[in-house]
C-alpha cells in the first residue's frame, strides 16, 4: 500500500486505535510509475523531511519553478520542533493525530503536484463543412431564440438559413439538437441547417440519433435495412423509396408482406400515400380482404383517392343510386333528388363503409356521406352535365318534397367536400368554397383550402376568414394555411384583429389568432401592425404581435 493509502486507513480508524504510519517510502529508481490516485512521492524527501519546491515537480523532471520560496523549509511540514514549541531538535509533535495530519499535508501536496497525464483516445474528427456558417448577427439571434425569445420562430430561422445556403454555428448545435429531441416537427428543419458537424455530433449521442435518420445518412440507405432494421427504420426506408421509386417500394413490401404482423402491414401500407397511382390498385384491392382491420381501412382510404380504379367505379354505382338530377323545362337539372341507401351490405363493408357511422348522424346519413366521399367527382360532372360551380348550387330535395332538405343538403355537400380533399380536385374545392356550403365545418373548409393552388389559396382563405363568425373556427382554418401571409389574407387578419381591439366589449381578444399571425404574417406587414399596436397600447397581444413581426423581419434580413 502506498504511504498515502496507509495514512488514509489510519485516519479512517483513528489514531486512537491505529499507529501513525511512516511518511517516507522512497521509490526505487526502477519502480514503475504508479497510476494516478497514488502518484509517486514527487522526488524523495531529503533527510530533514522538508518539501522543497523543486521536489514537487511533474514527472518529466523539469524544475517546478525557478525562485519559488522554500515553502516546505519555512513551514517545516513534517513537524519540525517549532511546530509545537517543542524543544529544538528533530522531534515530532507528540500527539499522533497532529503527526498524521502533518504527514498527510506533505503527501497531499506531493500527490497534487505530482499528478501525471493519462492516456485517452481522440474522437474521430467531423468531416469538413461544405456550407459556410451564418453571419455573427444571425448566430446571436439564434442564441436568443434558443434561450426562449420568440421561440416559435425557430423553424423559420432554420429554413431561412438553409435557403441561404448557410448552417448553424457549432456551439449552438447541442441546444438545437436537444430541442429536436422533444419536438419532432422541428427535425426536418434542423437537418437542413445543422451541417455535417450536426450529424457528426448526433452520431455520438443516442438522444440525437433522429438527426442521422432525418438527414438520410449512409447507414439508412443500406439495402439490408429492410431485412434487418427496426420497425421505424424499415418505415423510413419504405417512405424514401416511395418518394423516388414507388414500384420498387411496392416490390420490396410484397416480398415480405405475408410474413409481416398486422401492425407492421398497416404502417407499411400507409407509406403508399406517397407516389400513389393506379399501379398500386391491385395491391390495395387485395388489402381490402386483409385480416387486419386497420390494413383494410388504409387500403380503402387509399383506393378512394384513385378515381380511375375499379373501387371508384363500384362507389360511383352506389352513389348514382343516391343522387338523381331532376330535369327542368330548359332540359337542365333544376334540383337534386337525394335518396340515401336503404341497406348496408357486405360489399359496402369491404369497400370501407362501416355499418355504424363515425359521426352521430344516423346510419343512413352516415352511409350517404361515406359513399359520396369515396366517389370520383367526375361522376357528377357527367351525371348533371354541368360544371361544379353550378352543381353545388342546385337545391337538394328528398323525393316527394319541393323544399330543400337541410339535413340531406349538408350530407351531400360534406361528402363532396371530403371527396374533393381526398382526390385533391381544385375545381370542386373552389366551387364548394365559393358556394359557401361548408362554412360550419372548419376542418373540412381547411381541407378544401389545402387543395387550392398556392396562388389562389390566400385569397380564398381571406374570404373564409371574413365570413366565419367564430374565433375558434377561424383559427382552425387559418392554422392550416401556411405562411407567409400577404396581400388579401394579411389584410383580412389585420382587420379582424383591429376590430377586436377596437371593441373591448366584443368579448375576449383573440389571443390565439394574434399569436398565429405573429408566426405567419409576412414580415413586410411589420410596419402596419406596429401602427395598429400603437393605436391600442393597452392591448398586449397586439404589441407582442408587432414585436415578433419586427423580430422576424430583422431575422430574415440577416439571413438574406
Amino acid at each position: 500500500m502506498s504511504a498515502w493509502g496507509e495514512h488514509v486507513s489510519a485516519a479512517l480508524l483513528g489514531t486512537r486505535r491505529r499507529p501513525v504510519p511512516p511518511l517516507d517510502r522512497t521509490p526505487r529508481p526502477d519502480e514503475a510509475p504508479p497510476p494516478n490516485g497514488t502518484p509517486p512521492l514527487a522526488g524523495a524527501s531529503p533527510p530533514d523531511g522538508t518539501l522543497a519546491p523543486d521536489e514537487a515537480s511533474p514527472p518529466d523532471g523539469t524544475p517546478a519553478s525557478e525562485g519559488a520560496p522554500p515553502l516546505g523549509r519555512a513551514l517545516e511540514l513534517d513537524g519540525a520542533p517549532a511546530l509545537d514549541d517543542a524543544p529544538a531538535g528533530p522531534a515530532e509533535p507528540t500527539e499522533p493525530a497532529a503527526r498524521l495530519l502533518d504527514q498527510a499535508a506533505v503527501l497531499t501536496a506531493r500527490r497534487r503536484a505530482g499528478w501525471r497525464p493519462v492516456t485517452a483516445e481522440p474522437i474521430a474528427p467531423a468531416p469538413a463543412e461544405t456550407a459556410p456558417v451564418v453571419p455573427p448577427t444571425a448566430a446571436a439571434r439564434l442564441r436568443r431564440i434558443l434561450s426562449g425569445e420568440h421561440a416559435r420562430v425557430l423553424p423559420e430561422w432554420l429554413d431561412a438559413a438553409a435557403r441561404s445556403g448557410r448552417r448553424v454555428p457549432a456551439h449552438l448545435l447541442p441546444d438545437l439538437l436537444h430541442r429536436g429531441r422533444s419536438d419532432r416537427a422541428l427535425r426536418r428543419s434542423i437537418a437542413r441547417a445543422a451541417g455535417r458537424r450536426g450529424v457528426w455530433l448526433a452520431m455520438q449521442n443516442l438522444d440525437w440519433a433522429y438527426l442521422v435518420v432525418a438527414s438520410g445518412g449512409e447507414a439508412a440507405e443500406d439495402p439490408e435495412v429492410w431485412k434487418t432494421g427496426a420497425r421505424a427504420q424499415r418505415v423510413a426506408h419504405l417512405m424514401r423509396l416511395r418518394a423516388t421509386d414507388p414500384a420498387a417500394a411496392r416490390t420490396t413490401l410484397s416480398s415480405t408482406w405475408t410474413r409481416e404482423p398486422a401492425p407492421e402491414r398497416a404502417l407499411f401500407l400507409a407509406t403508399f400515400e406517397r407516389g400513389l397511382s393506379l399501379a398500386d390498385e391491385d395491391f390495395l384491392e387485395a388489402g381490402l380482404d386483409d385480416r387486419g382491420l386497420e390494413v383494410r381501412r388504409i387500403a380503402a382510404d387509399l383506393l378512394a383517392r384513385l378515381p380511375g380504379s375499379a373501387y371508384g367505379a363500384r362507389m360511383a354505382d352506389r352513389a348514382r343510386a343516391c343522387l338523381r338530377p331532376q330535369i327542368g323545362p330548359a332540359a337542365t337539372p333544376q334540383q337534386i333528388l337525394v335518396d340515401p341507401p336503404a341497406d348496408h351490405d357486405e360489399a359496402m363493408r369491404r369497400d370501407g363503409i362501416p355499418y355504424h357511422a363515425a359521426e352521430r348522424v344516423g346510419n343512413h346519413a352516415g352511409w350517404l356521406r361515406e359513399i359520396l366521399a369515396r366517389t370520383p367527382l367526375s361522376t357528377w360532372n357527367d351525371r348533371f352535365g354541368a360544371a361544379p360551380e353550378r352543381i353545388v348550387r342546385l337545391p337538394i330535395v328528398v323525393d316527394g318534397s319541393h323544399e330543400p332538405d337541410p339535413g340531406r343538403t349538408r350530407d351531400v355537400h360534406l361528402g363532396w367536400a371530403r371527396a374533393a380533399a381526398r382526390q385533391r380536385d381544385a375545381a370542386w374545392a373552389r366551387a364548394l368554397l365559393l358556394g359557401d356550403v361548408v362554412l360550419g365545418e372548419a376542418t373540412t373548409l381547411a381541407d378544401l383550402l389545402d387543395v387550392l393552388p398556392a396562388a389562389e389559396r390566400d385569397g380564398a382563405a381571406a374570404e373564409s376568414a371574413r365570413r366565419i363568425m367564430g374565433h375558434a373556427d377561424r383559427l382552425t382554418v387559418l392554422e392550416r394555411v401556411p405562411g407567409p401571409w400577404a396581400g388579401a389574407l394579411a389584410a383580412a387578419v389585420t382587420t379582424t384583429l383591429a376590430a377586436a381591439a377596437a371593441d373591448p366589449d366584443g368579448g375576449r381578444f383573440p389571443v390565439d389568432l394574434a399569436r398565429l399571425a405573429g408566426e405567419r404574417l409576412a414580415p413586410a406587414t411589420a410596419p402596419s401592425l406596429a401602427d395598429l399596436a400603437r393605436r391600442h397600447p393597452a392591448c398586449r397581444p397586439l404589441s407582442e404581435l408587432a414585436d415578433v413581426l419586427r423580430f422576424r423581419h430583422d431575422m430574415l434580413e440577416e439571413l438574406q
Partner: protein, 337 residues
C-alpha cells in the same frame, strides 16, 4: 468593484465589530491599536480551536464522518466566523459539499484536514515566515488587504486573455471568478468580485476578450488574485496563447510549491482534442498524447465546437479533472461553456 469586495468583509464579519478594510498596520496607524490586537487574539483562539478539532477528528477516525450531515462542518465554520477567521470558515464550510457514502469522502477529508492543519501551523508560526508567505497565510485565514494597498503594490501590464468566468455561491454571496492569462508574460491572474444573490455581478471582463491592462496583484507567495488597475485601449479578439498538458502540470506544481492551499488552478490548453479513455469518460489530449480528464457531465458544446479537431480550452484545473469554462477555435472565436 471595490464596493463589492468591501461588502464581503461586512457580510462575513459578525455584527458589532468594526469592518476591517485594512491589515493590522492600518489600524495601528489610525490609533485603534486595541481593536487590531483584539482581532489577532480572537483569530488566534479560533485557529487553536480549529486545530484541536482537526486533531480530534483524526483521533476518533474519519469513518464516523462518512455519514455525518453537512451541518457538522457548518457548526465549526460558524465558530470560525465568530473568531473572525472567515477564510478558514469558507474552507471548512465547503467540506460539507464533499459527497458522502460510497464516494471518496474520507480521502478527500484527510487531504483537506491536512491542508487546514498546515494552515493552522503556519499561522501559529507566522512571525517566522518570510513576508510574502506570511501574507498568503494571513489572507487564507481571513485577513484582508485594502484595495489601496493592492494598487500600491506590484503591477504587471500585459495583454490579458479573459479565459473563463465562473460564479460560485460563497457565504450567502455570489463570487465571480474571472481567470486571466497574460499573452506576453504567461502569467495567470484571478479577478474576484462579489454580489448579493440576485444582484448584478461585475461584467467588465468579457470571456474571449484580450485586454491591454495593468493588473495589481494581492501580496503573497503566489500572487494570483489581482485588481484591474488600469485598462488601455478597447478589448480585442485575439487567438489565445495556451500551453500543453505537461506545461499546465508544471505550472500547477510550481504554484502549489508556493501556495499549497491554492485550488483550482487556471488552465489554458492549446492544441488539445476531445478524447475518451477506456471507460468512455471524456478527456482532452494534446499533441504529445498527454491527456487530462474533464470534470463535467455535459461535454456536448465542447465536442461541437471542436468537431474533433485541435482547439484551445480554458478552465479550472484540479487533480480531479479540468472544469472547462471556455473554448476557442478559428471560426467561431471564444465560446463560453
Amino acid at each position: 468593484m471595490s464596493a463589492d469586495t468591501d461588502s464581503v468583509e461586512r457580510v462575513i464579519e459578525p455584527e458589532g465589530t468594526p469592518a476591517h478594510h485594512g491589515d493590522a498596520g492600518d489600524d495601528r496607524a489610525t490609533g485603534s491599536l486595541t481593536t487590531a490586537e483584539r482581532r489577532e487574539r480572537r483569530v488566534a483562539a479560533g485557529v487553536e480551536e480549529l486545530d484541536r478539532w482537526l486533531c480530534d477528528q483524526i483521533d476518533q477516525g474519519l469513518a464516523h464522518a462518512d455519514r455525518a450531515p453537512s451541518t457538522m462542518w457548518e457548526d465549526v465554520a460558524r465558530r470560525l466566523v465568530d473568531a473572525q477567521a472567515s477564510g478558514l470558515a469558507v474552507r471548512v464550510r465547503e467540506l460539507g459539499a464533499i459527497p458522502g457514502r460510497g464516494g471518496d469522502r474520507p480521502e478527500r477529508l484527510l487531504e483537506e484536514y491536512a491542508l487546514l492543519r498546515l494552515l493552522t501551523t503556519a499561522y501559529r508560526r507566522r512571525d517566522e515566515l518570510p513576508e510574502p508567505l506570511r501574507a498568503t497565510v494571513r489572507s487564507r485565514v481571513g485577513f484582508t488587504v485594502s484595495q489601496e494597498e493592492v494598487l500600491a503594490g506590484e503591477r504587471i501590464r500585459d495583454h490579458w486573455y479573459v479565459a473563463g468566468c465562473r460564479d460560485v455561491d460563497q457565504d450567502r454571496l455570489v463570487a465571480r471568478r474571472v481567470w486571466l492569462r497574460g499573452r506576453e508574460t504567461g502569467r495567470s491572474a484571478l479577478v474576484l468580485t462579489f454580489a448579493a444573490p440576485g444582484r448584478a455581478l461585475d461584467a467588465s471582463l468579457a470571456v474571449g476578450d484580450t485586454i491591454d491592462a495593468e493588473l495589481a496583484f494581492y501580496p503573497g507567495a503566489l500572487p494570483l488574485r489581482a485588481l484591474v488597475a488600469a485598462r488601455h485601449p478597447a478589448p480585442a479578439q485575439r487567438p489565445p496563447r495556451g500551453t500543453t498538458v505537461a506545461g499546465l502540470l508544471r505550472e500547477h506544481a510550481a504554484a502549489l510549491a508556493r501556495d499549497p492551499w491554492q485550488e483550482p488552478w487556471p488552465a489554458v490548453l492549446a492544441g488539445v482534442r476531445p478524447a475518451r479513455d477506456d471507460a468512455g469518460r471524456p478527456h482532452l489530449v494534446d499533441g504529445d498524447g498527454d491527456a487530462v480528464p474533464l470534470r463535467t457531465t455535459d461535454v456536448w458544446r465542447l465536442l461541437a465546437v471542436s468537431g474533433g479537431r485541435p482547439f484551445t480550452v480554458s478552465g479550472e484545473w484540479s487533480p480531479q479533472g479540468l472544469l472547462p469554462l471556455s473554448a476557442w477555435q478559428e471560426e467561431e472565436g471564444t465560446v463560453a461553456l
